[in-house]
Symmetry: C2
Subunit: 501 residues, 2 copies
């Protein structure tokens, strides 16, 4: 049995290593590759994708999994080997349902679609991307159909990002969240706007960069096993448990952009850095789901990084880094500025309260597209309509509207967005559990000490990688199922105080 | 026939792309990878090596080559397809002679040996590396034996780097060169030393970096298809004809180090950037041989970059970049400083005249080791003895002696060094041919114009990649075989004037 398990692990490691090598090709392409490298890079990357897929779907893996099934069944559910065989089987069965030829067609289309989008977006040219997006919708439906039967055609796509969730379960959670959230947004809208002019001064890049590096290091991101680079769109990427890198962008006219992006990505990266090293290259490496991953980034970005305690500690250092810009801005004014709530057009720039409205409308549009209720040609208007209804504003153009997110242009339609809001909900739920175990955490944050919180996250969440499903993990960590209450409670308390609700 | 040729190219492209992806893993490891990434990187790199080797030795390639042989024989010798099939066959037949198990053993040993050397070198601990080097010698002999019969056991190793050369032919060329070179070195040694103190001031890194970037760009290195990064040991690496990168190091106490390394690597890189794009990913991409490659780097570094004309143009700009350091140093003094001839211990720091003595003694030691005339344990003393005899000085320790070059510790013994001196010889021979075609080149260089020279190199050398063997190329370009005369003539004229010989 151990021989078969060893062979299974070796085969999975090869597929994983090919994917990781390919990830380095992507990282390089996003950071340092000269323009002339693009053509060969696309070809080399497609080759590594194909080889990794061939390995992941090799029938030998299926045979090994079959042979190992009795062994797995004799183990406790939470034994490492049982989890490894279970998750490997889940991944394998998902992978073999999709023909290699389809994967090739899809990958090729996505690369082309991304290029067209990147070129068309600055000019607001939705007509240019429309045929590609129609093709993407068609591919997304065909992709889902390989997983029939299902209650909703989005289910397989949602399941892939957030295993165990379905369109109906996500919709139910979102409806509940919306009921609680909308009154808070409306109440804040009646209050005077916070003033964030202090963030919109000129902040030289080098000093922003140095400050971001310090904060990332001090909250616990390990630079011996990672690094920070600059890209137009921030991301986290890992090549090994010992090499988890983050990127950020810098806007010299907006102090919040680089800083909160860095903390956000460091949150993702600390999750990956905290996975048990023996899970490296196995199906148990990496995060449990899109939602759980996002819970870590949002927890650090918002619950920690936009807290009063965090800035009690860091604001004097920030003032020292930018004395002319911030000398006359009191801590309280700065704290209000970084927590300004205002309906806006761009999801990634949205405040903590309205952010979920951006996500929920995208989720609804994905369902409508997949159901055939909404045609791609009508999507820009549907987008504007939902922004009007949900946020009270609408984009003047498609660049800041339906063309703002890369997801539909470089991936599929379906399952792309729900993880962001599930992550917000979970960030509140996990943080509440951490506070219950360690009520001293907020006071420690105000002293610039993050070790208790990080240690709790490591012990309860990070180390397990994807050994447990999201719902298993939530149950283990919080003693109950997914619940919006801690998150809503957190928002009510924080923004009630800020806006005198 | 075209179908088979297309299939052959597709198979060779896959092997090439796997090697290129692997090259990116190496580049990243040398430039930006955090320490924690090393273990997984070694594993991922070994995987890509193995997959590339499997593809390159796939019997299907042999069958395709057999099927294509009549087609190739019907073409003129210099037809692209004929050359492609010829070079592919040469590579294939070389690759299949070495069993995959041996390649794995060798690669694993080389990685380990490199680590041991890197750790042992700072402490001068030859005893630590000795068993590894003994194993390397054994592997080198076994490697060569796969190519038996041969006149000399070094022949297969030399042939791999400099196709068509043998121990006897290299030894003959080197003997001839030594006869001419030694009297020049001796004559210079009788003259007063040039003063290079002006290069040994403090030169801040940022300004050195900016100057190096400008020079590399202006001599013709295309940054749209390349980039410059910092590593402890400078190198050139290519992932595609559109992505050929160089690295350099910076010593703030030595102005020459970064600058001449950058120009040297740019010389290599311009060769790769100039290969016909349709050779990309075929056996005709890349340079013709180690010697021809080195001829390009040394031509730009020395014949151009250490010429009086070059500095007539650049020295005022260098003075402007380092006004306090160079304001009072006249051009002529600076020109003498960058051409100071003095016997020294470190090959890579050696001047143009004595450099070849370093190479030739290594070549002789390689032969003696492979022949079994010299034991690894006696190598440090043999090294010191040759430095005493050939250069009149000897290293006080092994760090600056037998442990200075990475070659034997990260590669095999045999064929590692002759390319450097063949490159010097060829740099003189090619430059003489360029001057014959374009006598205006030196005057243009003194105006900061390098287009005529680069255009001639592109047209006569670069574009052909490895379509022609080194000896075919030399014949085409110069109308005769390899000859030391132009190079010796160049040294005599330049150093005769400098030292009043």
């Amino acid at each position: 049995m151990q021989t078969k398990l060893t062979e299974l692990k070796a085969r999975l490691l090869e597929a994983s290593d090919l994917n990781r090598a390919n990830a380095l090709l992507f990282w390089d392409q996003s950071t340092y590759m000269p323009a002339g490298g693009a053509e060969a890079r696309a070809r080399q990357s497609a080759l590594l994708s194909r080889l990794a897929h061939e390995r992941a779907t090799d029938p030998a893996i299926g045979h090994l999994l079959d042979d190992l099934q009795p062994y797995a069944e004799g183990l406790p559910h939470d034994a490492d080997d049982a989890a490894l065989i279970r998750v490997a089987r889940r991944n394998y069965e998902r992978a073999i349902k999709v023909p290699a030829a389809f994967v090739g067609e899809m990958t090729g289309h996505q690369a082309e679609s991304y290029q067209v989008w990147a070129a068309a977006r600055p000019g607001n040219d939705f007509k240019k991307v429309q045929p590609y997006l129609e093709q993407t919708l068609d591919l997304s439906r065909r992709y889902a159909q390989y997983f029939a039967p299902y209650a909703h055609i989005a289910d397989p796509l949602i399941d892939e990002a957030d295993y165990g969730m379905k369109a109906s379960t996500v919709a139910a959670v979102f409806a509940e969240l919306r009921r609680e959230l909308v009154p808070i947004v409306r109440a804040i809208a009646l209050k005077p706007l916070a003033d964030d002019a202090c963030l919109r001064q000129h902040f030289p890049e080098a000093a922003q960069w140095a400050f971001g590096l310090d904060v990332a290091r001090e909250i616990g991101y390990d630079f011996e096993r990672g690094r920070l680079d600059k890209t137009p769109h921030p991301f986290t990427i890992d090549f090994a448990v010992g090499d988890v890198r983050i990127t950020t962008r810098v806007d010299e006219q907006n102090l919040g952009d680089a800083l909160f992006s860095t903390v956000h990505e460091a949150g993702h990266a600390m999750y990956e850095q905290g996975v048990r090293p023996e899970f490296e290259g196995t199906p148990l490496g990496g995060g449990a789901s899109a939602g759980v991953h996002e819970s870590q980034s949002r927890l650090w970005e918002n619950i920690v990084g936009r807290s009063r305690g965090f800035w009690q500690f860091y604001y004097p250092r920030l003032q020292a880094a930018f004395p002319t810009q911030l000398r006359d801005v009191p801590l309280e004014a700065f704290y209000r500025a970084v927590n300004k709530v205002q309906a806006s057009l761009i999801r990634t720039d949205a405040d903590e309260v309205t952010y979920n409205l951006h996500v929920m409308l995208r989720f609804d549009l994905e369902l409508a597209l997949l159901e055939g209720q909404l045609a791609v040609k009508d999507l820009p208007e549907a987008w504007r309509e939902r922004y009007r209804t949900d946020l009270g504003i609408a984009p003047a153009d498609d660049k800041d509207g339906v063309m703002q997110d890369v997801h539909w242009y470089g991936g599929l339609i379906g399952g792309q967005f729900q993880g962001y809001t599930l992550g917000n909900i979970l960030s509140g739920q996990f943080y509440a559990a951490a506070l219950q175990a360690h009520p001293e955490i907020p006071a420690e944050i105000a002293q610039g000490q993050f070790g208790t919180l990080l240690g709790w996250l490591r012990g309860n969440i990070h180390q397990h990688g994807s050994k447990f499903t999201a719902s298993e993990l939530i149950q283990r960590v919080t003693g109950g199922p997914l619940s919006i209450e801690p998150y809503i409670g957190y928002l009510r308390t924080k923004y009630g105080a800020l806006y005198g609700l």
